[in-house]
Amino acid sequence: MPKIKLNLITGRTIQQGVAMEGGKEKPAYTTACGIIELDPEDFKKLGAYRNTNVRVTSEYGSVVVKAVDATQGPHPGLGWIPMGPWANMVVNPNTYSTGMPTFKGTPVEVEVAKGEPVWDSLTLVTKACRGEI
């Protein structure tokens, strides 16, 4: 299956904010943040349908999220996962002595992950801490 290389950034969205205030254990939060926004060109390279689950992998970790159309593009080569526990499975955690993890600008590989679930935030974090994922 094709794997594409992207530069991953994260950040806020209104949907992330609203869902967060509604409760991170709820499905709306997963819908808002358990996603990666891809530019149409990158979707083509990936060879996947919209709303397919994909696995995003970096040097630091791996996570399954749903691939959706970029809402604030075009940005070919750039992947966007809203800030949250899904993004934090793969972003560069190194602070390089500044105290600040490098949340923006992590090289990642994305491939289709058919049949693999997108966990809700609490399950995701719990499983990750247990070393299950």
Binding site: G73, T95, G99
Partner: protein, 437 residues
Amino acid sequence: MAKMVTDVICPFCGTLCDDLEVSVSDDGTKILDVYNACAIGAEKFLHSQAKDRVTRPRMKQEDGSWKEVSYDEAVEYAAKMLADSRKPLMYGWSSTNCEAQAAGTELGEIVGAVMDNTATVCHGTTLIAVQDVGVPSCTLGEILNRADRIVFWGCNPAHAHPRHMSRYSIFPRGFFTGKGAKGRKMVVVDPRVTDTAKTADIHLQIEQGRDFELLTAFRVAFKGEWLPDFVAGIPKKTIYEVADTMKSGRFGILFFGMGVTQSLSKNHNIDQAICVTRDLNEYTKWNIMPMRGHYNVTGSGQVWGWLHGFPYALDLSRGFARYNPGDTTSNDLLVRDEVDAVFVIGSDPGAHFPNRSVKKIWDLPSVCMDPHLTPTTAVCKLHVPVAFVGVETGGCAYRMDNVPIECRKVVDPPEGMLTDLEFLERVVARVKEMKGA
């Protein structure tokens, strides 16, 4: 019949809108509707009284399930954990009021904790840059009344500070800005065509992570000196044009956010952004302002500033205050196993720290004070729900421009629920007893 509570402060982001109106039931107990808030603020108020609200502390059991406990038991667990630990991390503080922040600091002093707030993953690198070069800034009202050049660099207020542009930065008709948005030029620097960029006069779609180069290129362009054909993906002609636009205004403001604080050059980006602003003051009037995230992260920095002289990453573990980002910051401490207990309040590191740090919280004695269920409450051993500041209890909060505003109490918290301040005061008292003060 509904009653309207006016002049309500929204406790979500650093925009700290204070013009919300909340209609409550006649007996004052139920929130019926919220006016003037953005979607996020409205959700905060409307969801605060959801039926599935957790109203009592819960302790994680051996088998991973949760058992409800009393506040007294929660105080006991938290006090013992802090009193017994040698170097606890007390993190968060950004979504609560200054009174709770001060009580928490007293607690941190007694137990010798490292105190850190959400700036550590947000504008901490800004604070480092300010310590190097200072910061020419202003209050948000100066922008609505004077500014005719607005730059949003590495931030997306349309999504993160939704009412910012309408209340302060683009649309208002102020004293000297009667034409509103028509009299202003707006520049956005962002690797994506964000919803903010779509409303800008100029969008510089920068190569992600190359802000340091573009910022320094502006400083060169102000002086009319040589530039290469492209910097950070932006053609030099555009750079010179935008530089001229910035110099030709009568009052400019540079807002910036995570795009520059969290990308690789971090504090060096902010250093240059501040120097860009300084340089512009040779030609006209310019200021710069960080778009602070949580509604009271700024307050946490001020409280620690006046009590101990440092705005975050405050290490009290040796009996006097120390500060060294990279050394006394939460993610570094967790990853290097340098803390032996974690106390979280007014924040969600479980969701917003890299998982490598969150794993450490999972392994440690840990307490989380939060009205919500979050990934942090999921990984901690004790979850203490508390009242929402700004909804169920008042208290001081500091806006992104450091202006302090008193949040209002609109309704009572659920029966028997404590506020952050009340819980912390009880823990302080219990710790003092345990330490034989």
